[in-house]
Symmetry: C3
Subunit: 366 residues, 3 copies
Amino acid sequence: MEYSLGELARRLGLTLAGDPAARVARIAPLAAAGPGDLCFYADRKYREALAATRAGAVILAPANQALSPAPTLVGDNPYLAYAHAGWLLHPPTAAPQGRHPSAVVDETARVDPSAWIGPCAVVEAEAEIGPGAFIGPGSLVGARCRVGAEARLVARVTLCPGVRIGQRALLQPGCVIGRDGFGFARDGRRWFRMPQLGSVEIGDDVEIGANSCVDRGALEDTVIAAGAKIDNLIQIGHNCRIGENTAMAACSGISGSTRIGNDCTIGGAVGMAGHLEIGDNVHFTGMAMVTRSLPEPGVYSSGIPAMPNAEWRKNAARFRHLDELTRRVKHLEAVLATLSAVPPATAEAPAAASPPSTPSPEREPD
Amino acid sequence: MEYSLGELARRLGLTLAGDPAARVARIAPLAAAGPGDLCFYADRKYREALAATRAGAVILAPANQALSPAPTLVGDNPYLAYAHAGWLLHPPTAAPQGRHPSAVVDETARVDPSAWIGPCAVVEAEAEIGPGAFIGPGSLVGARCRVGAEARLVARVTLCPGVRIGQRALLQPGCVIGRDGFGFARDGRRWFRMPQLGSVEIGDDVEIGANSCVDRGALEDTVIAAGAKIDNLIQIGHNCRIGENTAMAACSGISGSTRIGNDCTIGGAVGMAGHLEIGDNVHFTGMAMVTRSLPEPGVYSSGIPAMPNAEWRKNAARFRHLDELTRRVKHLEAVLATLSAVPPATAEAPAAASPPSTPSPEREPD
Amino acid sequence: MEYSLGELARRLGLTLAGDPAARVARIAPLAAAGPGDLCFYADRKYREALAATRAGAVILAPANQALSPAPTLVGDNPYLAYAHAGWLLHPPTAAPQGRHPSAVVDETARVDPSAWIGPCAVVEAEAEIGPGAFIGPGSLVGARCRVGAEARLVARVTLCPGVRIGQRALLQPGCVIGRDGFGFARDGRRWFRMPQLGSVEIGDDVEIGANSCVDRGALEDTVIAAGAKIDNLIQIGHNCRIGENTAMAACSGISGSTRIGNDCTIGGAVGMAGHLEIGDNVHFTGMAMVTRSLPEPGVYSSGIPAMPNAEWRKNAARFRHLDELTRRVKHLEAVLATLSAVPPATAEAPAAASPPSTPSPEREPD
């Protein structure tokens, strides 16, 4: 889709420096861009690419405007403007309506005529599919599920019976919503399954990633609140609550009944124990191991960054004796105190040099 | 489904204190329960909710009976009784029989007439489906597979050719049983695939979670023994053996040829190296890193619980020098010994105060 | 399939010691093998089984030939020869051609007549399927995808629109290729999705494991180079590049824009931060946490191997004070220096005894 720079500036609320009649038709990287391309600049790593770009225009922040040889579109949240520009130039293909002949739709299901039921999709009894919803190929909408307006099940999504999906929710391929939670009572040596009588509520504008799983509650519902973004291969246990606009990166697992607040960011492969309370605006770096409730905002981390194997083997072996080592130091201090007046170690001692870099809990443009 | 308290007491082997003719119809949480609801109490966290409940009856242990204002059903394993009560009041819907017209069933497959083959399910050549088995929508039963009586493939399950599923096994959506194991021979720089000639045996009453994977063996079979419970997003490598009634929480991965004993519990996101021998009654807390065989029963753990990022950065940087630090302490001890007669650090020194809490390896009611 | 030992020796380039007319028909383990079976020996753990074997022949290295009571097939890469022998004795069943009546193939798709489109598979508009390709049951080939000659989508594979699959690529059940990458711009508290305009390129001879996910690029493509082997339940973020013949074990996650070189091996459950550069011939042991670029070849590790819980609780509690402990030691050294001339700790101090064993980064026969 083609736009003039003037039209883009108007629609995106940006300040144009350049010919308003000039036109761009697509998004491109600075280095590859030509006159018909629109680019984005923020990271100084690309400073030289910007200086050499042949792009039709560049979206950037006021502070960087002087660096661009090309026409500029300037605003205070250039990355967001760039996102909107991307959708204008590359609009999603319109979804079809109705149903594919190979779809299997129970006669008691209520499907809005403006929704689409794709090939080999299955919609069970008494399910409700809202206006403009998209049920992709091979997806299952279980009995009594409710799928909100314009929600999108991309492909091969499984909704177990009775789950509720909010408006504009985006469910990626292979995700499973509403499996019976993993709860058992012990019967001697054997495990006896607890009935899982709750359901799952997925809020408006939530995204669930590919092959991620959200289990249904034991009695009350598992809840993913509005605007939360869940990446691929994530496990959310039964009775969890994920707060509004909380974002979780791939491969994380949240054990049952843990509640996470609003506006949190959770790095990749984070693990959380069950029955925890995590507050609002709590951020975890990748691979953090969360074993306690953390009600206070802040950035929390754990894990040992990789090092050469030989070095690691020695240090890891010593870790097994860290408690003993600490007691030996305490003992040395006591003995030394008997030999001399030992002034206490100053709290103002310099911090450790060059701490290991850590994955940022904030999502950056890739 | 509605029951009188007398009938419930009789069926569940509980002692009733209350009117045997009073009736309950559903399970509910203590705080929300009304006269027609049945509740459960064990965790003192809910003590006030119990004191204030309007429930029709509460299942609990003898020690807690006095705390309940409502009629009580008392037994020594109240959680198990509660599970049975849940199934009585909320029985599963009866499975249909026969096959959906959209199912694709090879003419050489042997399907018991009491089994169900759901919409868009595929059953390949010479597969055997036992009495009362449920093959959910979009599932694949590969050639020569055997599915035991009353086994349930909930939806979109993949059984690769030749795998065997025990009676009453429960396979959750998206799980993949019998992928060729990840084994390769090196051909210069390139990897050449080893044929994987074994299969997978899933025992009676086993559960496999959503999107979990169990690979087929290279020569002999990968085995999940009777009663084992495998949660979501778990990887079981080829030639592994998981013992009877062993339970694994989500996101764990077991490398090839590792054998785990009976009655083990494995917390979430545990990783195990290959070719290990883990004994019976071994328990791992969440995110444990298992690199050695552990034949003895016990609870094993590893990992560093999350802490404020600034604190973590300093400590993690020091870890890289833990071996050197230990040597420095040893050196100090030697030097000090030359200056004075140093008595050895007492083994009876007090243990570290306030250890971090850890995810319980035992499954608790959520 | 049956072969004479002479024929096998000729085809595999091995040296036979035994009757060239003797025949074998299948692969078997040393302990179970009979006269018609072919075995492999390399690991001295099986030395007694070899000494007692009744196998028809054993493939092994020259150094081990004397250990075998059975006829031998000897070569310098016996494991590779064994793999080839396995395929000769147990050839894969020939794939069918054409399409199953239940398959849904868009009329604008170009499907080679020698390809197979299985039951309930869906091929969307303008997709291209090459000669001998296999599109397994329930798979989705999105619009404009290209699937190379003899590529195999085993079952229930999802290819999102526009992805390209190389020749002989093997895609295991449930994998998802080309989900929109996890990229968002912040709009106040809310997340606004970035359009993901790149695609995914899967090279020739690549394998992608069951339920693994490879996200499409934001602007340029995510690339899995020729010969790379990706195990189950792995996440590859958008804009990543995985080099040629790099092998990744299950449950690993690679954050967006990280580039991994050629001939690397990555153990299970490894996590990598985004925007890293990993060189060629870099090897990570299982559960390594990778937070920095590592351009140099070598073996890198992290993590704390599991230990008895009581021991771990004490040591983990001490870790929170490791920085402080280090400063206390430094202080002791300073004080002691004032009391005596302290010679420096010798760099030649003995290394830590018995380091924990670690998962081998090299793939071994299981």
